[in-house]
Symmetry: C2
């Protein structure tokens, strides 16, 4: 199995070695994502599964059981820019590995099993995440069609570039009756499993983010001829907000039983040339906590700070809320069974919350869903150094195989 | 003349109206700069001048006198991104207008007159300024050939895309004997002329910048799963430097008789996506003062601050000095004659320093040179709202015509 895992993780990542200094870049609805999905299709077919692509570009690899009800598992193959090769891919790999294990052991499913590869999970390209799983759960907001990436390509154009028709994307929705449960395996992207001496994590809730776009309007001017006292430099005006977000999040985390994280993760200066004072700055802020009230309080504090910076620096600051979703609780019973399955194999578990959003949060809106974490080294993720060991991936396969056996068996 | 000025400034800017909300974008060695230079060629030829292009892409429009010695005037037609239509273009316009005035009045030059349109004056594209005039003065550092713009195009590639050969760029150098004097007219890009109740500025010295590139290496990570206490966020680390540069420059300006300005003008965050902690930030800092010691002290303070931020935030900060040139003094005698010429026409002058670099600073390294400023409204420059009135442009034509008559006459 380890050799198969090693070969297959490289194949899914379109490389000969997982050691890639620049990491992996497969944005949602890009050529690169499609190419990786084609590898998924080939591997699934070689395992005897039947693969179909839905109207949102998700792939489903099906193992027909005696009933048409589906136990589903899977994740995604898109990445952030210069990201790692395990975020998403580990879930795809372990799901396929679990099917392989069950096939090797002559298992015959009562309910049908599907391994799903969701399209465009990351928000890296459009600032909108989990487009594929939202479509399956029937909660896609079609007004995102005009949202553009940094090159001006819209969601609609990107989707249609992959030979899909945006006007039928909503037909990707699956009916409630169709699916019995969904189990996602993902890398932890943190160090709580290790910190608690466990081998895998079992997730109770997913902290969905509040995302803010902050637009600062100052006045451009020549850096050499505009005296310091006559400037309205948009970057100087916004700089204290960067420190504020970091310091306030630390303060809130110390004071609250549930942690909060907040990040100024994007920042664009215009015109961004050496001899011109920044006239305009746009910053993106990501705030997360499973404590929704705390998350909203943080957002309010940021808006308050922006008002005071407006006064101090004589600029105009607009704050737009891009995303504000409540946290998601996963299915208690399914979660308990998944935890039990892992522990029955001898792996100690750690119950935790997820600071990152995953496809499972959309599936959980409609079907009983669970999320399993396996460790990634030092918690490093969204980075070329992101890594999960073959030992942990093998464990993931074992756990998923056990879960599928229980959930899809008689 | 005003009608000619109005028509010609629009033609040089390739527009029907100077009111352009997005301003003007003609980067050095771009299609757009070439197009504007072709308009220059056409206007100059319509005035009876003979135009040639040198090995660096500069255009010289020549009016042969009785001697081969040249009195030269001119400026540039490239712009920053989304800049104004007068920075550079005003000097080109007034130089051509002065020739037209002298021709209309039947003037016959003793020495030859050349109107020069220098290539690539702005540092907006490559972070390197005045490539054309450096070539003419023989002080071009050819190792800049590998410096790239944000799209990865090198200086060499850009120059060669305009049908020039980089290997012969040094042949653009003019000999010492060839040129008697150089007089540039430029918009002030500040408000000192107006603040002192004058009509034009006469420049004693040009404050050349120190330019620093600051590279901050932190660690990328998932915004949702990396606890605040476990981060090394490159943007959080550099944020206090932005405030520091602004505050320290204000403090130095208050304490010193000669003002200092300093600006964090460029800032690039990597990977710059919503759910990834900034792992790397690169910032560009521009420092100017005619007091070179003060300028260097400011640079030292910035480097010192970076060392302390390295400690505070556990990041690695590298500071690279891109440019550090001493300030330039212009020719005292020529400057006095230019000042006298303007005042003889009834225009009060203001003696001042220039906070911005101009082509004249390279020409001054080899030939007696002078710099005349005309006002631009509210001092706004490098911005779509940059504007000089037809009244001030007409004055510029009159002053340059008077200067050329004196310098190129018998």
């Amino acid at each position: 199995m380890k050799e198969w895992l090693d070969t297959t993780i490289k194949a899914l990542n379109l490389v000969d070695s997982m050691n890639q200094p620049d990491g992996f870049t497969r944005l949602g609805y890009s050529e690169e994502e499609l190419e990786a999905m084609n590898v998924f299709r080939n591997v699934a077919e070689s395992l005897g599964l039947t693969v179909r692509r839905d109207q949102a570009g998700n792939l489903f690899a099906r193992w027909d059981g005696e009933t048409d009800h589906v136990v589903m598992t899977g994740s995604h193959l898109d990445t952030v820019e210069n990201g790692g090769g395990y975020d998403g891919a580990a879930g795809i790999l372990c799901s396929l590995g679990a099917v392989k294990t069950l096939k090797d052991h002559g298992f015959s499913p009562h309910h049908s099993i599907e391994v799903v590869c969701f399209a465009s999970e990351e928000s890296a390209r459009f600032g909108v995440s989990t487009i594929g799983s939202k479509s399956v759960a029937g909660i896609l907001d079609k007004t995102i069609e005009k949202v553009t990436d940094r090159h001006g390509t819209s969601v609609k154009e990107a989707v249609e570039s992959t030979i899909l028709n945006w006007s039928t994307v909503q037909h990707a929705e699956r009916s409630q009756d169709d699916i019995l449960s969904f189990i996602e395996l993902h890398i932890e992207q943190g160090t709580q499993i290790e910190d608690h001496g466990a081998r895998f994590g079992i997730v109770r809730g997913v902290a969905c983010p509040i995302r803010l776009k902050v637009k600062v309007e100052g006045m451009a001017g020549h850096t050499g001829t505009t005296p310091m006292g006559k400037r309205t430099d948009a970057l100087v005006a916004i700089a204290p907000l960067i420190s504020f977000v970091s310091e306030k999040a630390e303060e809130f985390s110390r004071q609250s039983p549930k942690p909060l994280v907040a990040t100024v993760s994007t920042l664009n200066v215009k015109p961004d040339v050496m001899n011109v004072i920044p006239g305009y700055v746009e910053a993106g802020i990501d705030i997360r906590s499973v404590d929704d009230d705390l998350k909203r309080l943080m957002s309010d504090k940021i808006i308050e700070k922006c008002r005071s910076l407006e006064n101090d620096f004589n600029v105009t600051i607009k704050v737009e809320t891009l995303v504000d979703n409540p946290s998601i609780l996963l299915d208690g019973e399914l979660t308990a069974r998944v935890k039990g399955a892992g522990e029955s194999l001898g792996y100690p578990s750690h119950e935790m919350d997820s600071g990152a959003g995953h496809d499972v949060m959309n599936m959980a809106a409609k079907w009983p869903s669970a999320l399993v974490f396996i460790p990634c080294e030092k918690g490093i993720s969204h980075h070329p150094m992101e890594h999960s060991t073959l030992k942990d991936l093998s464990m993931g396969v074992e756990i998923l195989a056990e879960v599928l056996k229980q959930e899809a068996g008689e």
